[in-house]
């Protein structure tokens, strides 16, 4: 506005004076350079440089990697959260989410506990190749699979299967370390006793703390085993807990476990919306999912064209994100289970299968954005990264 107009406003002189004073005594923002990033990185660094401090053999197929920060600082996390490790295996850069199994009260390291998976590219790399002293990179702690005092009761029921024990281990360690006023009933399902991770520590904690109630459920025990056998059924839960009122439910394990346990919880009248579920990677055997077009076979080949230039071929049964990585294209990812939307990309042409219920924003759907970690090609595709 022109000066002569400004001067006609009532109160103009006062404001001019105010401006002069504030210019004289105001903050010099140039001194705050880098501060925003510093504050954010204390809680949510996008990248942590880690070094393997120790490797602990848990079972024949499972190891814990103890990870320390190269710069000495690890951001706090909530028990149950995960980090996404970024690794290069066989010349392919990829990522995997691992729940932290150590307690948040332990600020010197994050433990991740890795179990061998058939053809598990990353798990086998971590188990066979990584040595003490090696460097790794991860995201900051992520995820919403944790106790929330507003949503959850102080008494929680956890159903774990296989390596799905890891987030619960962190929760239980925190409760016992810090003496938190919370109770955990942990049902841990396993094929055999030898396969159980943390069995000894859990048995001890359960004996030592009345707040920890550990119920191993073993599918095929040898004759000496005295505990619960079979699967985590409605009956097992009911007879252990008695009343289910005033309890919150958490579940984490392989996909077969959800298929079995969720209907069991239905039988007990537990509202599914109130069950906190952790997702563990993309669906297995996607072609068996409801809605998968019967004319498409898992091994059908399709061409994916990226940003209008580079193309490659991939299988219908392979998640798009993994196929992109195999072809040297890095898409930032975190949960790799469809939840976090980090690997969102635009589908310009063609069709993909995304399991029903994948939380994609409504307007993202409208404009063709997909979560590539759980999207499977049903057609030749054109995508935009």
């Amino acid at each position: 506005m022109k000066q002569e107009l400004l001067e006609q406003f009532e109160g103009y002189d006062e404001i001019r004076r105010e401006i002069e004073i504030s210019r004289k005594f105001g903050d010099d923002f140039s001194l705050e350079k880098g501060q925003v990033a510093e504050y954010v990185n204390r809680l949510h660094p996008s990248l942590i440089n880690l070094r393997v401090g120790k490797i602990i053999e848990e079972t024949a197929s499972t190891k814990t990697l103890r990870l320390m920060a190269v710069n000495g600082y690890l951001p706090p996390f909530q028990a149950g959260q995960y980090i996404s490790l970024s690794v290069e295996v066989d010349m392919v850069r990829t990522g995997r989410a691992y729940s932290i199994s150590s307690s948040p009260s332990q600020t010197g390291y994050y433990d991740i506990t890795v179990r061998r998976v058939d053809n598990g590219r990353v798990s086998n790399f971590l188990l066979d190749k990584v040595k003490v002293g090696d460097f790794l990179q991860s995201s900051g702690p992520q995820g919403t699979f944790h106790y929330h005092p507003i949503l959850h009761q102080k008494e929680i029921v956890c159903l774990a299967g296989g390596s799905g024990i890891t987030p619960f281990m962190s929760m239980i360690r925190e409760i016992t370390d810090r003496g938190l006023p919370r109770t955990v009933h942990l049902f841990y399902g396993s094929r055999t006793l030898d396969d159980m991770i943390f069995h000894q520590e859990l048995s001890q904690l359960s004996e030592q703390f009345s707040s920890i109630n550990y119920i191993p459920v073993i599918e095929g025990p040898d004759c000496e085993y005295k505990g619960k056998t079979g699967y985590i059924t409605a009956e097992v839960i009911q007879e252990t807990l008695g009343s289910l009122a005033g309890k919150s439910f958490f579940i984490c394990g392989p996909q077969a476990m959800y298929k079995f346990c969720l209907p069991e919880l239905d039988k007990l009248g537990i509202n599914r919306r109130k069950i906190k579920q952790e997702m563990f990677g993309p669906p297995i055997n996607i072609w068996e999912y409801q809605g998968w077009p019967s004319e498409i076979k898992a091994e059908d080949r399709f061409t994916v064209r990226v940003n209008g230039s580079k193309s490659f071929e991939t299988n219908a049964g392979e998640p798009l994100l993994a196929a992109l990585e195999d072809n040297g294209l890095v898409v930032p990812s975190l949960c790799r289970s469809g939840e976090c939307s980090q690997c969102r990309i635009k589908l310009v042409a063609g069709r993909v299968f995304q399991p029903e219920g994948t939380p994609v924003r409504k307007s993202d759907r409208k404009y063709g954005y997909i979560h590539s970690c759980v999207s499977y090609p049903l057609d030749n595709l054109e995508i935009l990264l």
Partner: protein
């Protein structure tokens, strides 16, 4: 030859509209965005079966098909009008006065507001009429003199505007009214501008109040992310490029003029023009070398202070709005009519009954906003970041939960069923906004909206050849102003390109 004509840093409202406008004119544009989605604050996130609206309470300036507002025209010009569906709100806002548990709902019409308030405050009947007339005159003064730049503007032609524009809102309210609640009802939109009435220029409040009445408060089908996605889509359709997960590291300068941008991954991309939709502070002090920052800009920056952020609860309920207690879509809960107290509360970490809070429930305007038989609400308390920056990281999560608890306690006063129906909850603090927006103080309003720092006194001039700023750091905060800011900036570049 440069790689692009224009590089836009940041896909917030202004970054997006500037890019859409430019690409429509055939200008070669690249948008750089740190995040993996467009929109900045105009975004959403999913939790469980809910998609939560992050920031938009009500958008102003769209108007109706018959009486279009400036934004409708803007949307048409940048090619997104057909992509959007508008949701009109029935009320301006519901004023909830906590100490007396009193509620007053203003309709979005100046005449109806007058009639309603005159009925409630009969002793001040004349004053209400006179005040609302003044609001209209000052608002039209802003539009004619500031926006349309009437060449014949003068104190004599627009006497009320020149008399009241620079006064603080409280002073004007005090001059007209006696009842403190009446003053508080009429000043409640201060929440959208970020400073209490005794610190807020009357021209800002008058313009906003009148404009919301004229154009009706609205929302978007699909929320603000639907707006951001529509504009991003238009940019791509027009041949523009957007790189997500790609922040700017540096504005490349040569002989005092812009040469391009270096990305965080080290790519150097050349262009003659750069539009920064980043904060003004980071544009000059993070993206440029100190010797390239012009002295007048350093002086301008010293004059300003960073605006507040917020503590927000995103709540998903397993019940219909009415069962939770929501009757109006937009609610302002006022705990104290004392401005000093309100300001003090903005600088405090915790939340208590003296805080100013805005609670929006969008399912009342669009039953499909959330899944069937559910609804969502955003409850927001205005908070500066400072006390949050002092919370030790290890105590951050617990502090967040404690504040959420106390916020729910306050909300209980008007929405007693609120706790019983919560299915999902996400809590955002000033640090959350800092994380996702990258702004100093986690603000989404730019600088404190004091009169001295308004565009009247700090015109949007980057003082660096080739550099343009757009968004709330160089104008008013909020959706309409920032969307318009982008187009204004784009127009100046088009002019420059054609010269």
């Amino acid at each position: 030859m440069t790689d692009y004509d224009v590089i836009v840093i940041g896909a917030g409202n202004a970054g997006l509209t500037s890019a859409a406008y430019l690409t429509q004119k055939g200008v070669k544009v690249l948008v750089l965005e740190r995040h993996n989605v467009p929109g900045g604050s105009a975004t959403s996130f999913c939790r469980g079966r809910f998609e939560f609206e992050v920031s938009l309470h009500q958008i102003c300036g769209i108007g109706t098909e018959k009486a279009p507002g400036p934004l409708r025209n803007l949307f048409e010009r940048i090619g997104v009008l057909d992509k959007l569906e508008f949701l009109e709100m029935n009320d301006l806002y519901n004023f909830l006065y906590l100490p007396e548990k009193r509620s007053i709902t203003l309709p979005p019409d100046i005449g109806e507001i007058a009639a309603l308030l005159q009925g409630l405050f009969p002793k001040e009947k004349e004053a209400i009429k006179a005040y609302l007339e003044l609001v209209t005159k000052v608002a039209y003064g802003v539009i004619s003199v500031q926006y349309l730049q009437d060449p014949d503007a003068s104190k004599d032609k627009y006497p009320e505007y020149f008399k009241y524009a620079l006064k603080n809102t409280q002073e004007v309210l005090d001059r007209f009214f006696k009842d403190p609640i009446l003053k508080s009802v009429l000043g409640a939109y201060w929440g959208y501008l970020g400073v209490p009435p005794d610190r807020l220029g009357f021209s800002d409040l008058a313009l906003m109040f009148r404009a919301y009445c004229d154009f009706k408060p609205q929302h978007f089908k699909g929320g603000s992310q639907a707006l951001s996605n529509a504009i991003a889509d238009a940019i791509l359709e027009n041949g523009g490029s957007i790189r997500y997960n790609c922040g700017a590291e540096k504005i490349i300068m040569k002989n005092g003029a812009v040469q391009g941008v270096m990305t965080q991954t080290g790519d150097e991309i050349t262009s003659r023009f750069v539009i920064s939709n980043s904060s003004k502070i980071s544009t000059y002090y993070e993206l440029m070398d100190p010797e390239d920052v012009p002295e007048p800009i350093k002086a301008e920056l010293r004059q300003t202070t960073v605006a507040m952020s917020s503590f927000v609860l995103y709540l998903g309920f397993n019940a219909e709005p009415r069962d939770v207690g929501f009757i109006e879509s937009t609610n302002f809960m006022v705990g104290s009519i004392d401005n000093e107290m309100a300001y003090k509360r903005m600088k405090a970490l915790d939340i208590n009954e003296n805080d100013f809070a805005a609670i929006s429930c969008y399912d009342l305007i669009d039953p499909q906003f959330s899944p069937p038989a559910t609804c969502q609400a955003m409850a927001l308390a205005l908070k500066y970041a400072d006390p949050w920056l002092k919370v030790p990281p290890a105590q951050y999560a617990d502090t967040k939960y404690q504040c959420a608890e106390s916020f729910l306690n306050v909300l209980d006063n008007f929405f007693p069923n609120i706790r019983n129906h919560i299915e999902e909850i996400e809590i955002a603090t000033p640090l959350t906004f800092m994380r996702y927006l990258g702004t100093p103080g986690g603000t989404f309003y730019g600088f404190d909206n004091f009169i001295k720092d308004s565009e009247m006194f700090l015109p949007n001039d980057s003082k660096v050849p080739g550099l343009y700023n757009a968004g709330c750091w160089v104008g008013m905060p909020g959706y309409q102003p920032t969307l318009e800011s982008g187009v204004r900036t784009a127009k100046s570049i088009v002019k420059e390109l054609n010269a």
